[in-house]
Homo-oligomer: 470 residues x 2
């Protein structure tokens, strides 16, 4: 609970109606989409504009009270749970699409804007915002930027990082900083824009962003390729790239995932195949047609049982929607679903998926794998029950083995979900102790009192990805 | 001059043959491509590998001696002049293209590799390295990364920043850090990769980089459009973008530049027109043809006197080569050539060019302007004589006015050249005092002894872009 004088200072800034601290509010903001992490905040605050954020930060910095900025908390790394209490900041009032500039191809947005709303709006103008995290229907742009979100179209179009041209953010001491702008080129000083992207709310509070737009692709086609085994699917991926084709999406589902997705989405996916690739190409019609024909040939040459181009856009959209439903479908199976995003170089995808199968078997846990084969970003997903602490220890061990294997193959512990509290023990596996040291120094430079989202990114003690005992 | 014991320590690391400190060597490395900045280093060192760099940094950090990493010094911001003495590090021994990975579409390189050599080599494999700074025939990849270099293809393909997937660098204390990898997605911790890009050698020493490659565009066409006045050229740029076409290059030359370039390149440019746009499109032949026809129509509709598509690739290449020769051509005119890169949002290009004309007239100096119209990145270039200190003061005032105007229009003081010593007094104009403070704290976090390229990026005292009196 906040001290009364702190509470008074905060309500003087935002008004009584924008500070929530009833028990039910605190519980509602005590967790995010990540299983097994929960802690009550002291209050939840809703700033109305940047000046509110600045004034709030001055109070919290003075009081050394934690601040956890939170979009819609769809992150899967315990990035927005208020593990050390303090104040959760939500952006219900700062959720506007402020401007679409068709001449400079930019959209200026507030952090609380829903990703899908941005995508939908710009498409009505013939423009395109490419980053499409699976949670885009409810995730916010501010959350996407803080986590450095990816998506299905990452291979061809890049990720959130590649679409942020400028930011406004508030430092822990209340200072307001503006970076970049409607500028395709800007090298004035260190790249604070990209330092903020993926910083998981540990450096400052985003209050505005200028996003890059591109022309909307004229058309899109979708193909479904079925495989007896995942090595053939891996061959297809490599051969497509070797043929200098970069498809818009190149998604992989293993057999267990296919079964669960079909059971959920009911769109007629064959449940007896070893693996599926979902391939999309977009762009000018001539090029899409040419690429699809060539990719169909490649699928067949590399051992696909079949490779069928969707007859209509609706059929294609249904296939993509089924893929996007994978997490929801898997989440129905068991009380607890833990989805990871170990990522490897594209050439190592098949080897990594095989290794995941072996690791699951060794640890006697159930893991389905799907993900973005084109960029090596896999989502091994464990269906378990957090109440079964014995099984959770095995789950923990399995993910530790998966991270170790990803690193061994030249990969990383997280491709698009972030480190958060969940993977902080493993950060040094990827960036080394020297890398972690540098990051800690950067954190101190921004936030000497460590009030910004404490407990995230940097490990406190032992290596436990899943909190086995609290 | 180095103290004998320091010299002994350094030669023990690299060998006597890799430490240069004759007077002629020191003079050769006392300046870069930027006029009017010069200072002798104490020595020049040639590491053979990363371990050498690490060992050297430990010695220099202990001695608090400056280290200036230097590619081929084509930067135009006094980014590599050893203004506070110390040791200049050059990468003659670390200039290899280590690997091209066709499956993961990456090239792994050492910092001393010449940009053009990378481009040429990957193109023989049907791949493409898009960033093409005008100096690419002699610039190094390490220099490009340190300066965050752009180029003519920035509008469509992005800049150096967008092609760096992973780095190895040595901290001032000798620690070796590796970031990223052959990974399309990686959000493990703060984005050290992009923090290093454009950091101008002030944070650490790059020793290896993994660069992203893309498939080589199948074909390319070039068009030259002539205008009575630059506002019409600006209209063409806006209308092309409004028609959802993103050309590969969209270059602008004003009348004075055209005259000088034609005098130099002799390719038959008309010298009596008000402005020229050089437009290129690349990609699949069907799309290139369609886009070129449409862009020709747009040029004509928006007031071009003529818009002619080059009949042959050779003719197109000659036009592009002429544009690339602009700096060389201008440099012949007067003893001193000062080229800037004030950048504005694309929609403000014509307004900015007009303002530059007025500023030149007001200050009675001669300024030609050319640049990347598609991304608002202009190169106002002043032909002067550094020995005429009275004129240099007016030049100084003119550039100050240009920076102020760029900022007023939502632009930046540097689009692709860097801040260096030259523009450090103006950094706060772009990022604010709070932005500069944050950057200074980051610098301290990496380099507490301030040995990495001191005197760059951060202003020491007064606002003088050109050193008027030493």
């Amino acid at each position: 609970m906040l001290k009364q004088d702190v509470r008074d200072q905060l309500t003087a800034i935002v008004g009584e109606e924008n500070l929530l601290d009833s028990q039910q509010d605190l519980i509602a903001y005590s967790y995010d989409s990540t299983p097994d992490f929960q802690e009550l905040p002291d209050a939840v605050i809703k700033p109305r504009h940047t000046e509110d954020v600045s004034a709030i930060m001055k109070v919290l910095n003075e009081e050394k009270l934690p601040l956890v900025p939170r979009g819609n908390a769809t992150n899967l790394c315990a990035g927005t749970t208020p593990l050390e209490g303090g104040v959760v900041m939500i952006f219900n009032h700062m959720n506007k699409l402020l401007e679409i500039d068709e001449e400079n191809l930019t959209a200026t947005v507030q952090p609380g804007l829903i990703t899908q709303d941005l995508i939908t709006e710009v498409e009505t103008r013939g423009l395109f915002y490419a980053p499409d995290p699976s949670s885009m229907k409810i995730s916010t742009i501010g959350g996407n930027i803080n986590e450095g979100s990816g998506g299905l179209r990452g291979l061809k179009y890049g990720v959130t990082r590649d679409y942020v041209m400028g930011l406004e953010f508030v430092m822990p001491n209340g200072d307001i900083v503006r970076t970049g702008g409607k500028l395709a080129k800007d090298v004035a000083g260190y790249d604070l824009t990209r330092l903020m992207i993926g910083s998981e709310g540990t450096l400052g509070v985003l209050t505005e962003a200028t996003m890059k737009l591109i022309p909307k692709p004229e058309t899109k086609k979708t193909m479904l390729a079925l495989y007896h085994n995942l090595e053939s699917a891996g061959d297809t991926v490599s051969t497509i790239i070797a043929n200098k084709i970069i498809p818009a999406t190149l998604e992989f589902l293993d057999q267990p995932t296919i079964r669960v997705v079909e059971d959920f989405a009911q769109i007629g996916l064959p449940t007896d195949v070893g693996a599926i690739l979902l391939i999309e190409q977009d762009g000018p019609p001539e090029v899409v047609d040419r690429d699809m024909v060539k990719m169909k040939e490649i699928c067949e040459q590399t051992g696909a049982m079949s490779a069928d181009i969707a007859a209509t856009p609706e059929e294609g959209a249904a296939l993509t929607a089924a893929r996007r439903s994978a997490l929801s479908a898997l989440a129905r199976m068991k009380p607890t679903t833990i989805l990871e995003d170990a990522t490897v170089p594209r050439s190592k995808v098949a080897e990594m998926v095989r290794a995941i199968e072996e690791i699951a078997e060794k640890n006697n846990v159930e893991i389905c794998t799907f993900g973005h084969a084109g960029d090596g970003n896999l989502h091994p997903t464990c269906m378990t029950d957090a109440r079964d602490r014995e099984e959770m220890k095995r789950v923990e061990q399995a993910f530790e083995d998966i991270f170790a294997k990803a690193i061994e193959l030249g990969g990383t512990i997280t491709g698009e979900h972030g480190v958060g509290a969940m993977k902080s023990p493993y950060l040094s596996w990827k960036v080394g102790d020297t890398g972690v040291n540098v990051m800690r120094e950067i954190k101190k430079a921004f936030d000497p009192n460590n009030i910004m989202n404490p407990g995230k990114m940097f490990a406190k003690d032992e290596k436990f990805r899943v909190v086995v005992e609290k």
